[in-house]
C-alpha cells in the first residue's frame, strides 16, 4: 500500500492483484518465442540452410555428346542430331495441370494427368517434330506449364549397311537404371545395344556435366550468377558444384564405306556374311552380314508389323553371321593339308589315287566327282578339292593332330574381333564327344574323315575362316581381325602372332590355292584378269545327302530353301604377295563354286579399281 497514492479508485487493488502476473507472462512469452527462435536458427540452422539452398537450385544435366563413328577415310557413319522432348513442369497445382492439358490439347497431344508427378518434370512426348518444336519455343507464353528440352539423338547415315558391325543404340531400359553399373545414366540416355556401339559404350558415352540454374518461387529459371544470387560466396560455392560435360570419344573404324556399300548392294537379299581383311594388320575393310536392318528404327520404338516382319524372316536379319559357327566345308581342306605337311605325310606311299569312291572302315566314301581325280599331288588335290585325297590325309593324321595344330596356330580360340558374342570355334579331338555328351561319347575314326573335309563336328565362324586364310596369306601370321582403327587420334593396336617355321609348307598350300582359280580349278569362276586371286571354294551340306539323293543330283533351286547347301569362298589377293584376304559365306545358295566365287571376283576387281592394290 505504501507505494501508491491514496486517491486511487476503490476496488482497483483487486484488479491489480489479478494483473500483477501480466508482466511476467509477457516476459515468459518473449522467452518462449526466443527459445523457438534459437531452436530454429541455431540448432536446426543447417537443416533449414540446406532447404533454402535446395529451394533455389535447379540442377540440370548437361548431356555429353556421344562419340561419332567414322570410317577409315573419316566419313561419318554414325553421328548425332537434336531430338526434342516435351515436358509438363513439376510442382503444378490441379488448376495449373488443367491449363497444361488445355495447351497440350491445342497442339493435338493427349496427356493423362493421373500419371502426374509433382516432384519431377513429366515427359509427355518424345521425338517432337521440328515444326512443333519451333512453335513451342517461339510462342512459349501461349503454352504455359509445358516446355521442350533438347536431347541428342543418334543418327545412322548408312542405315542397313552398317547395322551389324556398328550396332545400334536405344533408350536405356528402366531395369538397368537401378543397377550400380549404370549409375551415370538417366532415363533419357541412349545405350549401345549391339555391335561396336555396345562394345565401345564406355568410350562413346562420355561423362555428363552438371549445370546449376537458379529458380524462384514460380519455378522461373535464371542463370547462376552472383548478381542474381546477391552473394559472391554462395555463388562460388554453387559454381564449384557445376561440372563441364566430357564428350564421348570419336572412334575411327577400319571399314571403308564405299567398299561396304558396294558389297552390300550385291548381297542384300541373300543371307550371307562377307569380310575383307588387310593381311598385314588385321584391319577389316568390310564387314557385312546380310540381310540387315536399319538401326534408326530402334531409336523411336519399333512398329509391331515391322518387328514381326524382321522376326519371321527365315534369313535372320538380326543375326550377325560373321561371328556364328558353321561347317567350314572345303575351306577347311588347306588346314588339313597344313597339318599333313607339317607331319610330312603328303608323300606317303599309302595314299591311293582317287577313283570317285573309296572304302574306309567298311564305309563307302565318295568324292564329289563321280569319275574320280586319279593320282594327285597335294596342290592338285587342293585345286580339285578332292575329297578322297583329304579323307586319306585325315585318316593318316588322326583327329588329335587336327586339334594339336589348331591349338598351335590359335585356330581353336576365338579370333578376338572387337564384336561381342563371337562363337568359339569347334575343333574336335578324341574326347570331344565325351566332353560334350554327344551320343555314346566315343570318337569313331570315320568321323575324323568328315572333319578332314570340313564337315561333321568341326565348325568355324566366317571371321575365323578369314583369319585362317590370313594366316596362309601372311605366311604364318595369326592376325586379329578388328574394326577399330583409332580412338580420336590415338592409334589402336591389336595383337598379331607370327609363327616361326612352316613357311615352305604354307607356300605349297598357297600354290594349290592359286591353282583353284585357274582354268579347270574348282574356283575358276573367280578367275580375274585384273587381279590374281588365290582362294578355295566350300559347300556346306545342310542336309545329310543319301546315296539315292546323290544319284538324282537335283538342281539346288528345286529343293526347299532350308535344305539347300551353304556355299563358302575364302580367298586372298594378289596371289604372289597377298595383301588382302576375303571370305564370302552364304546360306542356302548352292555350291561355293557359283555365287560366292563370282562375288569374290567382283570384290577383288572393285578393290583394284578403288586402288587398294596400287
Amino acid at each position: 500500500m505504501a507505494y501508491f497514492p491514496s486517491e486511487q479508485e476503490p476496488g482497483l487493488e483487486s484488479l491489480r492483484s489479478h494483473a500483477k502476473i501480466i508482466p511476467y507472462l509477457a516476459s515468459f512469452g518473449v522467452l518462449l518465442l526466443s527459445v523457438q527462435l534459437f531452436y530454429l536458427q541455431i540448432i536446426e540452422r543447417d537443416k533449414y540452410y540446406a532447404l533454402s539452398t535446395k529451394n533455389l537450385i535447379h540442377r540440370e544435366k548437361v548431356k555429353a555428346r556421344r562419340g561419332k563413328i567414322l570410317d577409315r577415310n573419316g566419313k561419318l557413319i554414325a553421328g548425332n542430331r537434336m531430338g526434342y522432348n516435351l515436358y509438363v513442369a513439376s510442382g503444378l497445382s490441379k488448376k495449373e495441370r488443367l491449363k497444361a492439358i488445355t495447351s497440350l490439347g491445342s497442339l493435338g497431344i493427349k496427356w493423362d494427368s493421373r500419371k502426374y508427378k509433382t516432384n519431377r518434370s513429366n515427359l509427355v512426348k518424345r521425338y517432337l517434330g521440328y515444326p512443333l518444336y519451333l512453335e513451342l519455343t517461339i510462342n512459349s507464353e501461349k503454352y504455359p506449364y509445358i516446355y521442350v528440352e533438347e536431347i541428342p539423338l543418334r543418327d545412322y547415315y548408312y542405315k542397313e549397311i552398317f547395322y551389324h558391325p556398328v550396332g545400334y543404340v536405344s533408350l536405356i531400359s528402366p531395369e538397368y537404371l537401378n543397377s550400380k553399373e549404370y549409375a551415370n545414366y538417366d532415363d533419357n540416355d541412349y545405350i549401345g545395344k549391339s555391335g561396336l556401339e555396345k562394345k565401345y559404350e564406355g568410350l562413346l558415352k562420355g561423362t555428363d556435366g552438371l549445370r546449376i540454374l537458379l529458380k524462384d518461387t514460380y519455378g522461373k529459371k535464371m542463370v547462376l550468377s552472383s548478381g542474381n544470387l546477391g552473394s559472391e560466396s554462395l555463388y562460388k560455392k554453387l559454381h564449384a558444384g557445376e561440372k563441364e560435360p566430357k564428350d564421348g570419344k570419336d572412334i575411327i573404324l577400319t571399314l571403308d564405306i564405299l567398299l561396304q556399300q558396294f558389297i552390300y548392294e550385291e548381297i542384300k537379299d541373300i543371307s550371307a556374311s562377307v569380310m575383307v581383311m588387310d593381311v598385314n594388320t588385321g584391319e577389316l575393310l568390310s564387314y557385312i552380314s546380310s540381310p540387315s536392318v536399319d538401326p534408326n528404327i530402334f531409336l523411336q520404338g519399333i512398329a509391331t508389323e515391322v518387328w514381326e516382319k524382321i522376326r519371321s524372316d527365315v534369313r535372320h536379319p538380326l543375326l550377325d553371321k560373321g561371328i556364328e559357327n558353321f561347317n567350314p566345308a572345303s575351306t577347311f581342306k588347306p588346314f588339313a593339308a597344313y597339318c599333313a605337311l607339317m607331319e610330312d605325310l603328303t608323300e606317303e606311299r599309302s595314299i591311293k589315287p582317287c577313283r570317285g569312291v573309296m572304302r574306309f572302315y567298311n564305309i563307302k566314301k565318295h568324292c564329289w566327282k563321280k569319275r574320280g581325280h586319279g593320282r594327285e599331288t597335294l596342290e592338285e588335290a587342293i585345286r580339285d578339292s578332292c575329297n578322297i585325297y583329304f579323307y586319306q590325309l585325315g585318316d593318316l593324321l588322326g583327329i588329335n593332330k587336327f586339334k594339336e595344330y589348331a591349338d598351335k596356330i590359335h585356330l581353336s580360340r576365338p579370333s578376338g574381333i572387337d564384336l561381342l558374342g563371337e562363337k568359339t570355334p569347334v575343333i574336335p579331338d578324341l574326347e570331344f564327344k565325351f566332353r560334350n555328351k554327344i551320343a555314346d561319347g566315343r570318337w569313331y575314326p570315320p568321323e575324323t574323315l568328315d572333319v578332314s573335309i570340313g564337315q561333321g563336328f568341326v565348325s568355324l565362324s566366317p571371321v575365323k575362316v578369314l583369319q585362317l586364310y590370313g594366316f596362309f596369306a601372311s605366311y604364318g601370321k595369326m592376325l586379329t581381325p578388328h574394326l577399330l582403327k583409332r580412338i580420336g587420334n590415338e592409334e589402336v593396336f591389336f595383337p598379331t602372332v607370327a609363327f616361326e617355321g612352316g613357311q615352305e609348307q604354307i607356300a605349297r598350300i598357297n600354290k594349290g590355292l592359286e591353282m583353284v582359280t585357274s582354268w579347270g580349278g574348282t574356283g575358276w569362276r573367280a578367275r580375274s584378269l585384273k587381279v590374281k586371286i588365290s582362294g578355295k571354294t566350300g559347300t556346306m551340306q545342310s542336309k545329310r545327302i543319301t546315296e539315292y539323293f546323290k544319284e538324282l543330283s537335283p538342281d539346288q533351286n528345286e529343293i526347299p530353301y532350308k535344305e539347300r547347301d551353304n556355299p563358302w569362298f575364302a580367298s586372298f589377293a594378289p596371289a604372289g604377295s597377298p595383301r588382302y584376304a576375303a571370305v564370302v559365306f552364304m546360306e542356302h545358295q548352292g555350291s561355293g563354286a557359283y555365287l560366292p566365287a563370282i562375288l569374290t571376283k567382283k570384290i577383288w576387281e572393285r578393290m583394284k579399281e578403288m586402288g587398294y592394290f596400287d
Binding site: 507505494y3 479508485e9 508482466p23
Partner: protein, 439 residues
Amino acid sequence: MICLILVLGTVGVLFIYSAFSTEHSAFLENPMVVKQIIFILIGITLVAIFSHIDYSLYRRMAVFVYLFSILLLLGTAYVFPTVKGRWIRIGFLSVQPSEFAKIAFIIYISNLFRNYFMDRSKGYIINLTLFILKTGMVTLIPFYLVFSQPDLGTAMVFPGIWLVLMIFLGTGQRLIGGLLLFLLSSAGGMFLRIAMEGSISGIWGNIFLGSGLWTVLLFVFASILLTMFLFLLMRFLTGSTLSVLTVWIMFILFFSGIYISGAVVSVIKPYQKNRIRTFIDPYSDIRGSGWNVIQSKISIGSGGFSGKGLTKGTQNRLNFLPERHTDFIFSLISEEWGFRGSFFVLLLQGIILFFISITALRATDVYGFYLSLSIFLVLLFHAFMNVGMNMGILPVTGIPLPFVSYGGSFFISGCILIGINLNIHSQGATIKSVGAYWK
C-alpha cells in the same frame, strides 16, 4: 519509448528496402521506403501529441468514437471505393479504417468494463449476463466487419481483447471460466476434427467425428468419468471447495463444446479447413496453403546466428518469402540478420510490452487500468501472433509486426496507442519495481 519505436521503425525501413532490393537498387528509389520514413515521422509526432492528452477525455467521447469507427467500417464495406476491401482512398493516401476501429474499440470497451466494474455489486446473474451480451455485441460488430473485408488477423484482435478483459472483470469467474472452457473446447475440438479427418475412417471415425447418438453417449460417458476423476484429484491435492456440480457443469460445457465443434466443422468452407490443416501439418500441402509457413520457417532457420546479410537473403531475392515487407518481415529480418537481428527485434517488442504492462499496474483509476491493459493486449496480440506465425507455431492469419511491418495506418495506430499509454503512465502512481509490488 520513442527511441524504441524509432529503432524498430528504422529496422523496418531497412528491410522494406531489402525486400525490394532486386527492383530498386538505390535506397531512396523505393517509394515504399520513402513513405514509411514519412509515416515514422508522423507517428513519432503523434506519440508526443497523444501522450499529452488526458486519457480521461476519451471516456466521455468513447461511444461517439466507437460509433464513428463502425460507420467508417460500414463505409469501407459498402460505400467507399477501396483497395482490396481494406483500405479506403483519400486523395493520394489510402487509410485502413480497421486500424482506427481498434483504437475506438478499446476506448469504448474499456469504458464499458469500467462502468460494470464500478456497479458490480448490483445484481449478479442477470447483470452479468446482460453485460456479457452487450460487450459481446460491441465486439462482434467490428469483428464481423473486419473479418468480411477479409482480414482475419486484425479481426481476431477484437474478440481476443474481449475474452482477456473478461478475466479481469473482477467477478463471476465461474461463469466466465465456464464460457471460456466452452469456447476453448469447441475451438480445440474443431482443430482435432480437422486434423483427424481422413486419417480415421470406418466405425471409429463415425463415433469420434460424427454427431450421432453414439458420439453423444461417448462424450457423456467420458465426461462423467473424467469429472469424477478430476474432482477426486482436486479434493486430494488442493482441498478445493468447488462442488461436484460445478466441476460437472464445467465438463459438460467442455464436452458440449467439442460436440458443437462438429457442427462448426461441417459449416466452414474447405479453404478455411485447409488453412487449419496447414497449420497442423504444413507439409500436407507443400505447394498450396502450407507453402508460406514452410518458406517462412526455412527463411528463419537458414539465417543462422549472423544471417546472410542485408539484401542477400536468397529466400528474399528469389521470392520464396511471401508478403515479406508486411506479415513476414520478421522472417526476412531473421534470414538476413540472423539470430542476432531477430532476437534484437523480439527483445525490443518485449521491452515495449513490458513497459505497457507496468503502466496497467500503475494506473490510478479503473478506466486507465482497462485502457492500458487493452493497449497491452493489442500490441501483445500483434507481436506474438506475428512472430508465432512466422515461426510456424501459430496459424497464418495475416497480421503485421508492430512498428516494423510496412503500412502507414498500422504504424500510426500503434503510435497513437503508445501515446495514450504514455499519458496513463505519466498520470500513474510510482512503483519502484514490479517485484516490490509482487511481495
